[in-house]
Symmetry: none
Subunit: 225 residues, 2 copies
């Protein structure tokens, strides 16, 4: 699979930069927001693998944000962890009630942060993106080797195609909007033309077969298992 994406939400620019620096250095794609509302909005766009939420924030705090995130169907696959200062015990409880998967204590130590993040994402990888497992579709996606097994034949796809396929196939049946796809595969900042996604979809259809990819007009694309 491609890099995994993390959404980092904290109102203090210093902390934001510090954490982002450490995560980027490890090869994660990091999106940032400075308050809960912004964070939730961005999350809906990029569908990150992991969301790190500061608890204390202006506008909308972490717990509220988490609640909203958990109510959003498309974000059910995302893992949520709180960043919480030592001694804010109540926040842990409220946090878990809101549906968080973990919490990480401030002050942040890079080593600790990374190992926790890795652990959380490993857990997701096990069930989330792709199991390297035959699933009856004749398709096997091997994120480690960047290779797709199609009815026993090994296909190596270019990066973008592979990532697009991985995204769609991560939740068969679910429709991904063009916006979602752009944000996940291309990134929020990159701007590409309207037809780019289509062309990549077409290449995948050529290589794997029409039957896997369904167009939902006006909405997006979905992978059918």
């Amino acid at each position: 699979m491609g890099k995994q994406s993390i959404l980092l939400v904290d109102d203090e620019p210093d902390i934001l930069d510090f954490i982002k620096y450490n995560l980027v250095k490890e090869g994660y794609i990091v999106h940032t927001a400075t308050n809960g509302r912004e964070g939730v909005a961005l999350a809906k766009k990029v569908l990150p693998d992991l969301i790190l939420l500061d608890v204390m924030m202006p506008e909308m705090d972490g717990v509220e944000a988490c609640t909203e995130i958990r109510e959003h169907k498309s974000l059910r696959q995302s893992i949520v962890a709180f960043l919480t200062a030592r001694g804010e015990d109540y926040s842990q409880i409220a946090g878990f009630e809101a549906g968080a998967d973990d919490y990480i204590l401030k002050p942040i130590k890079p080593r600790v942060l990374l190992s926790r993040v890795q652990a959380l994402l490993r857990r997701k990888k096990a069930t989330g993106y792709v199991g390297g497992d035959y699933d009856g579709t004749g398709l096997m996606i091997d994120p480690d080797r960047y290779v797709v097994l199609h009815h026993g034949k090994e296909l190596s796809l270019p990066k973008k195609e592979f990532e697009l396929l991985s995204l769609l196939a991560s939740q068969p049946g679910r429709v991904f909007s063009r916006e979602n796809i752009l944000a996940s595969v291309w990134g929020t900042d990159v701007v590409v033309g309207d037809r780019t996604i289509d062309v990549h979809i077409r290449k995948l259809r050529e290589k794997l077969g029409e039957q896997y990819f369904r167009t939902v007009k006006g909405v997006g694309y979905k992978f059918v298992g």
Copy 2:
């Protein structure tokens, strides 16, 4: 939280084994039964987090089983999902009013199964309670996949029809004025002719049946549940 438990009820041993294998591999505790009666009995014992019920079974079918389960206070917390074959005769599933939370179409694809199971359990974990997408009419609307399950059959509707249906069905019984509908589905700025809504309603009536949509003359339309 410890491992989550799943009760799997299906009369075909092959399918049972196949699904069990995939769930166990992901770390779930899986109990199995081969007919509805057995399933209900076992459910009362183990109080599983999630119950997967095949619809077609000897002795006691999935719908009956689901009804019994829903009547049992100790099983209120359990999520129930049907396993239903694509295109299964509608009369068999007419009893969908039994209170299921979700449905999963056969043939089962491991990855689809897992992501759905994961989503359902995550939702349970987050809220402790799952309010089904189910509204007691034989209709289930799935905005994630942009499909409607109508008595066991998957229907994919065009965008406008889907949104109109979603709106009306969101509050069964409530009358939506034409003005309401226009504002919600088309947007406040867009101006369309008088007959446009009617035409869409008609298409929905064609596809789903007259009985769901009632005209309230001079006022608007409502969805009847």
